[in-house]
């Protein structure tokens, strides 16, 4: 296998890595907010449920969660799943896992906003919806950019865990190339590492731009 072929194969599988990454963020960033609302709900059973969910998501390996989501419906419930379930399962597992972390990050951000902001809004006659979406949420976003950046960078690397259920993202492909006959061997892993590193460099750069863009107020 030539190096060009190897790089082409890696680049091709990287699109799947990228898709997992983007779709996970697209799903988990908003879902995290819903989870936060659930955690703050006045309905106690919902609060317990959400707390249990967050604690399981944070307390067990993501790799295991991926396997449960992928194999679980069939093994536990006997459901036959469609052929494209593999990719869906990856997204479901990643989204519900990351949403749990984002919910906790949002909570930290929201709880760090001084009570005076709520009081000023209340005295001005804002209802609770407007107080949250106009006053609290924008300030929360600014406060959570650094911890969210950490999670996003972790996610880039975590996409490789999808390999455990055999989805052909970049890490799975690199493993496959490395063991193929006449393969470039370790070079496959080294190249994949470069892909991850450059991608993460880009992600970190974009997030720092976002942080700067929100620097117009304190």
């Amino acid at each position: 296998m030539t190096i060009q072929t190897m790089l082409a194969l890696l680049a091709q599988s990287f699109t799947l890595t990228l898709a997992i990454f983007c779709l996970t963020l697209l799903g988990s960033l908003p879902l995290g907010l819903l989870v936060y609302f659930g955690k703050k709900s006045r309905f106690a059973p919902l609060r317990w449920l959400i707390n249990m969910y967050i604690s399981i998501m944070r307390g067990t390996p993501l790799m295991l969660q991926l396997m449960v989501v992928y194999y679980g419906p069939n093994l536990l419930l006997g459901i036959t799943l469609p052929g494209n379930w593999r990719f869906t399962a990856v997204l479901v597992a990643f989204i519900i896992n990351y949403a749990a972390y984002f919910a906790e990050i949002y909570r930290g951000g929201i709880e760090s906003i001084p009570a005076g902001q709520y009081e000023a809004a209340a005295v001005l006659g804002y209802g609770s919806g407007k107080t949250f979406f106009r006053i609290i949420l924008p300030q929360m976003v600014k406060r959570v950019v650094p911890p969210v950046t950490n999670e996003v960078i972790t996610l880039v690397k975590d996409t490789s865990l999808a390999s455990v259920i055999g989805i052909m993202e970049m890490f799975t492909r690199a493993k496959q190339i490395a063991v193929a006959p006449h393969s470039p061997g370790m070079l496959a892993f080294a190249s994949a590492a470069v892909f991850y590193y450059v991608f993460n460099y880009l992600v970190a750069f974009l997030m720092s731009r976002l942080e700067k863009a929100l620097d117009y107020y304190r």
């Binding site: 005076g116 902001q117 209340a122 005295v123 001005l124 804002y126 209802g127 407007k130 300030q139």
Partner: protein, 253 residues
């Protein structure tokens, strides 16, 4: 005309009774100063008047309409939330810590609530905001963000923000306590100007010369009740209660 009437207000936090049946009535155009030692319940009284805290018993009425009154069981009952909003918008509160919205420009701080809460048009709200900023002497700061302003300027924005809602009455909770002495003057000046325009105001303050010069009435509070009240000159120069004398002596140095 009577703007605010609070009768026999009781308020406890856990087992700790902070307001012990206090009554406060304010007429249109009146400027009332409230003085008193720390922990006497001054802030709590303002927070009850502006519905940030709910009273346990008593009666709160604005312009003859009751927002809360004690029913037969002895517990205060508030009007439904929708009606309570209308009461909220007839009173403004200026905080010690300003509590401006940091993510909004000065102009947006002044226009957001009128647009979002009162349903004013943006043009209308902006015109009024610019007028108020001009009056506060900070028209040039409309595009700035709160963090770019001095404390005195921030507090003047906060006063303008409260006025933008066209309140019937404005409460101030130690509006200058977070400010350096040289910035205190500029804030007191705008409050004095509002007093001249007959804005109805209740000011909790430790600025005795200001209370004496600007208010129509001074209330000395201690221990969740009113110890003495009356004409500022009478209260300051000839206090009737030992408690008042004792308190004022500290400021006479």
């Amino acid at each position: 005309m009577n703007i605010l009437s609070m009768q026999n207000i009781r308020k406890s936090f856990a087992d700790n009774e902070i307001l012990k049946g206090i009554s406060l009535s304010v007429d249109s155009g009146e400027v009332v100063s409230i003085i008193g030692p720390s922990g006497s319940g001054k802030s709590t009284l303002l927070r009850c008047a502006t519905f940030l805290e709910m009273i346990d018993s008593g009666e709160i009425c604005y312009m003859g309409k009751c927002a809360a009154r004690t029913e037969a069981g002895g517990k205060a009952v508030y009007v439904p939330p929708r009606q309570l909003r209308a009461f909220r918008s007839c009173c403004g509160l200026v905080f010690q810590q300003f509590n401006l919205f940091p993510h909004y420009s000065v102009l947006k701080n002044l226009t957001d609530a009128p647009v979002q809460v009162l349903g004013c048009s943006r043009e209308e709200a902006e015109a009024r905001a610019m007028e108020l900023l001009g009056k506060m002497g900070i028209a040039d700061k409309a595009a700035s963000y709160p963090c770019q302003l001095s404390g005195g300027q921030q507090q003047r924005v906060a006063i303008a923000r409260a006025l933008a809602m066209k309140p019937e009455i404005l409460f101030f909770d130690e509006p200058t306590s977070a400010l350096d002495p040289e910035l205190t003057g500029e804030v007191l000046k705008v409050i004095r100007q509002l007093a001249e325009e007959k804005m109805t105001m209740v000011v909790v303050t430790h600025e005795m010369p200001f209370a004496r010069a600007v208010s129509n009435r001074v209330i000395f509070m201690a221990d969740g009740g009113i110890v003495e009240q009356g004409d500022p000159l009478a209260v300051f120069d000839d206090p009737q209660e030992e408690r008042t004398r004792q308190f004022l002596r500290v400021f006479d140095r």
